[in-house]
């Protein structure tokens, strides 16, 4: 126990609190800019079981903010690398890796196995999914999100308190990730660490939990503000009655006459509508390339322009396509509106 004695000394923790931590189970959805620092502090504090969920692989551009990863990890599964690294930090913690996205199908059954959920995601669909699944499973979740130099933080569904839908009842298509806008590594570092602090307070049952409040942090302006939020009972009741409300964010692409090929996974959003938009995930290309027209120009896109570039290489080199053009900036650059 000597590893925990600096925190056991606190009256808020003590031996009893340390036992609570050892018996606690925390699910981290997303092990990225927010999830990495949160995971390190929670593992350090001796949380008994941690679920590490991420379907993504480490990229060189992650390293400035995703502090669990090293250069030699590029290309490897984030969840697997995080587990290896965190086990070295604290071998007393039990880790469970999920190399799959959170979906409508698996959300409730996975979340039910944990006491608290920490949201380290970078998109609205998954935030609403976590929210709805937590309402159904009756679990609190610690939310954080970032836009450039600003962050938002709150604890939702805590002791029957307000939920994400009570703040933002309607989802939006403006799904702007850190990849798209840019971010300094310290900001998710700050937010992820604050999320870990909320998780610890929830487990220990001490202090004031940031429930019913939305904290706004502007790192560049060195300013902070807290907004009071009320529960919208009808929003929560709707989910309790009819289950998870999937957020399908559809959109139109600029040119209706143009052929497009979407190589993102089927769960990625927004989903463009239109007869000339093909959806074939990168991993299915070699089995489904015949569906792609080869006699007129096809614009190939993904979220950022990276995977679509790979897709074009494969289709060109292996199947002789010469009519494909990459959408460099990803889907956001070709959406109408």
């Amino acid at each position: 126990m000597s590893r925990y004695n600096r925190q056991i000394k606190l009256t808020e923790v003590g031996l009893e609190g340390q036992e609570k931590l050892r018996n606690a189970k925390v699910l981290l959805v997303g092990v990225g800019g927010l999830g990495c620092p949160a995971a390190m502090f929670l593992a350090g504090a001796g949380v008994g079981k941690m679920g590490l969920m991420d379907h993504d692989k480490v990229d060189m551009s992650n390293l400035h903010r995703q502090v669990l990863f090293q250069e030699s990890d590029v290309g490897k599964s984030k969840g697997v690398v995080a587990k290896e690294r965190l086990e070295k930090q604290n071998s007393e913690v039990q880790f469970e890796v999920y190399e799959e996205p959170l979906t409508i199908e698996n959300a409730k059954s996975i979340i039910q196995q944990y006491d608290v959920v920490l949201d380290g995601t970078d998109n609205f669909e998954t935030k609403y999914l976590i929210n709805d699944a937590c309402i159904l499973a009756d679990k609190p979740w610690v939310f954080a999100s970032i836009y450039k130099n600003e962050g938002q933080l709150s604890v939702f569904n805590y002791q029957n308190g307000p939920t994400y839908r009570c703040v933002f009842p309607k989802s939006t298509r403006q799904n702007i990730s850190c990849e798209a806008t840019g971010v300094l590594g310290v900001l998710p570092g700050i937010l992820g660490t604050l999320q870990a602090a909320e998780v610890l307070k929830i487990i220990l049952g001490v202090g004031k939990v940031l429930s019913g409040k939305l904290k706004l942090i502007n790192m560049m302006q060195a300013s902070e503000q807290t907004i009071n939020i009320n529960k919208r009972p009808e929003e929560v009741e709707k989910i309790r009655k009819s289950g998870i409300a999937p957020v399908y964010i559809d959109c139109d692409l600029k040119n209706k006459e143009q052929w497009y090929l979407d190589v993102r996974e089927v769960f990625e959003q927004p989903k463009p509508k239109g007869k000339k938009v093909l959806s074939i995930p990168l991993s299915d290309l070699t089995s489904r390339y015949q569906e792609i027209p080869n006699n007129q120009e096809v614009l190939v896109f993904c979220q950022s322009g990276k995977r679509s570039k790979n897709a074009i290489e494969i289709l060109k080199n292996e199947f002789g396509f010469h009519n494909l053009k990459n959408v460099e900036g990803g889907i956001e650059t070709i959406i109408d509106g």
């Binding site: 970078d122 999100s145 939305l214």
Partner: protein, 78 residues
């Protein structure tokens, strides 16, 4: 009456400021003030922006002299 408006995220970016003091005439409820502030700003999804008056999220309050209003878009990054 004078009202302080605080802008956040992409609303601050579209307005090109974090804060301003507006001189308003006549009675306004928060949702009307929100529409007025966002009018002309290049924001694709104005419905998703929430309004807080004196640090309380509520778009039905009547705006009073000296109120501090915050316009909050949702953030997605992580």
């Amino acid at each position: 009456m004078k009202v302080t408006i605080k802008y956040f995220g992409l609303v601050a970016e579209a307005a090109d400021k974090y804060e301003e003091v507006l001189e308003l005439n006549g009675a306004l409820i928060a949702s009307e003030l929100k529409a007025q502030c966002l009018n002309g700003l290049s924001i694709a999804d104005k419905d998703s922006v929430q309004i807080a008056v004196n640090q309380n999220l509520d778009d039905t309050t009547t705006i009073k002299d000296g109120d501090e209003v915050a316009l909050l878009p949702p953030f997605a990054g992580g």
